[in-house]
């Protein structure tokens, strides 16, 4: 059995393991598991509903851009770069969007998976990139802003290096495991 099969096999057990493990662990620690579950699940509705404006904004813009043929033209231009990186060019816009806005890049990932399927290589790449990188500029602004630090020194540079590393690592791991 190779590594990819092993990872896929383990993935099938993630949800069942959480479904048994967490409530059981909570119960043994004296938590009102059913009540807390329902309480937490209530947040799911608003979390999902709050993505609607971002989804509408990005899916609309992408629909215009794609149906007009502009996306194909742009991706054609980026083809040498994507060949160089051995990556589908559709994934490249995520590098720009991800550090800027979590909601926008989330909606872009949704658009990728909607267009190519969540289990396609592009869908998996998008998921991995979205799940392994952060909205660095937003975090730096909020965290330093909250305590009044004006000079962030080398923190933004380190953040960008980390983002690029996350992107590269996500693509490498996904390509290695699924193609």
């Amino acid at each position: 059995m190779n590594v990819a099969e092993l990872v896929n096999d383990a993935a099938r057990w993630v949800l069942p393991a959480f479904l048994v493990g967490l409530p059981l662990y909570g119960y043994l620690r004296g938590v009102d598991v059913y009540g807390e579950f329902v309480d937490g699940a209530q947040e799911g509705f608003w979390t999902a509903i709050k993505t609607i404006p971002f989804m509408v904004a990005i899916l609309t813009a992408m629909a215009v851009f794609r149906s007009s043929g502009s996306l194909a033209a742009l991706l054609n231009l980026a083809a040498p770069l994507s060949r160089l990186l051995h990556l589908p060019s559709d994934i490249l816009p995520l590098v720009i969007l991800r550090p800027l806005s979590g909601s926008a890049s989330f909606a872009y990932t949704a658009d990728l998976m909607r267009s190519f399927g969540p289990d396609s290589l592009i869908g998996r790449l998008g998921s991995a990139v979205q799940g392994s990188t952060d909205t660095t500029f937003f975090v730096l602004t909020v965290y330093f802003g909250s305590v009044g630090v004006k000079n962030a020194r080398y923190a933004p540079a380190v953040g960008i290096i980390g983002d690029v590393a996350g992107f590269v690592a996500a693509c490498l791991v996904t390509t290695f495991l699924f193609s």
Partner: protein, 196 residues
């Protein structure tokens, strides 16, 4: 920046459609896109509720605190200048544990509290301290065990294996965390040499 990207997509898209005579396609595709945006969000409600419910149970069972204890040796190594039993390290550990579990909403308050504690130890209040830079390097490349929202999104879009990205995300974030911490050490050493 986001303004520019969004505007670019719209202006170039509509412009190109007008020139190539495909303006009707734009209208139908936009109508379809808005409908799908809402369907996607609604499809997202169920799986998101399930994960947030499970994670609430984990939180109430004290899993964040337990993980924090496991991670304590890392904090000692990352922040040698700080008191390992102090409130700054404590809050940073809670933030890292919450991020590890994919509990973004729980992580942020701990992170902001950690920044406030670090600011108390900062000799120059306007300028980021070394510990703050290290903390943000770790925070923005956060190692993730359960990328909850992505799992939920994949499930909402009909993936046959929504959790198949757990392994890749974990490995990728371990990689980016190693790079971030190394970069932070490098920049810190360079700044010290310059006497800045």
């Amino acid at each position: 920046m986001l303004n520019a990207v969004w505007l670019f997509l719209l202006v170039v898209g509509v412009g190109a459609a007008a020139v190539t005579g495909r303006i009707d396609v734009v209208t139908t595709s936009v109508t379809e896109a808005t409908k799908q945006a809402v369907e996607l969000a609604i499809g997202f409600v169920g799986t998101m509720s399930l994960w947030l419910g499970l994670m609430r149970v984990a939180e109430k069972a004290g899993l964040i605190e337990s993980l924090g204890k496991v991670l304590r040796p890392f904090a000692r190594w990352l922040f040698p200048s700080l008191d390992p039993a102090g409130p700054a390290v404590g809050m940073m550990l809670m933030n890292m544990s919450a991020n590890l579990l994919g509990l973004g909403n729980a992580a942020t308050p701990f992170g902001l509290k950690a920044m406030a504690e670090l600011q108390k130890l900062n000799p120059d209040g306007q300028r980021a301290s070394e510990a703050m830079c290290t903390f943000l390097a770790v925070n923005t490349s956060a190692i993730t065990l359960v990328p909850v929202t992505i799992i939920a999104l994949r499930a909402a879009l009909g993936s046959s294996s929504p959790t198949s990205i757990v392994g890749p995300c974990f490995l990728a974030t371990v990689g980016s965390a190693i790079v971030s911490v190394t970069a932070d050490r490098f920049f810190r050493a360079a700044a010290r040499r310059k006497g800045a």
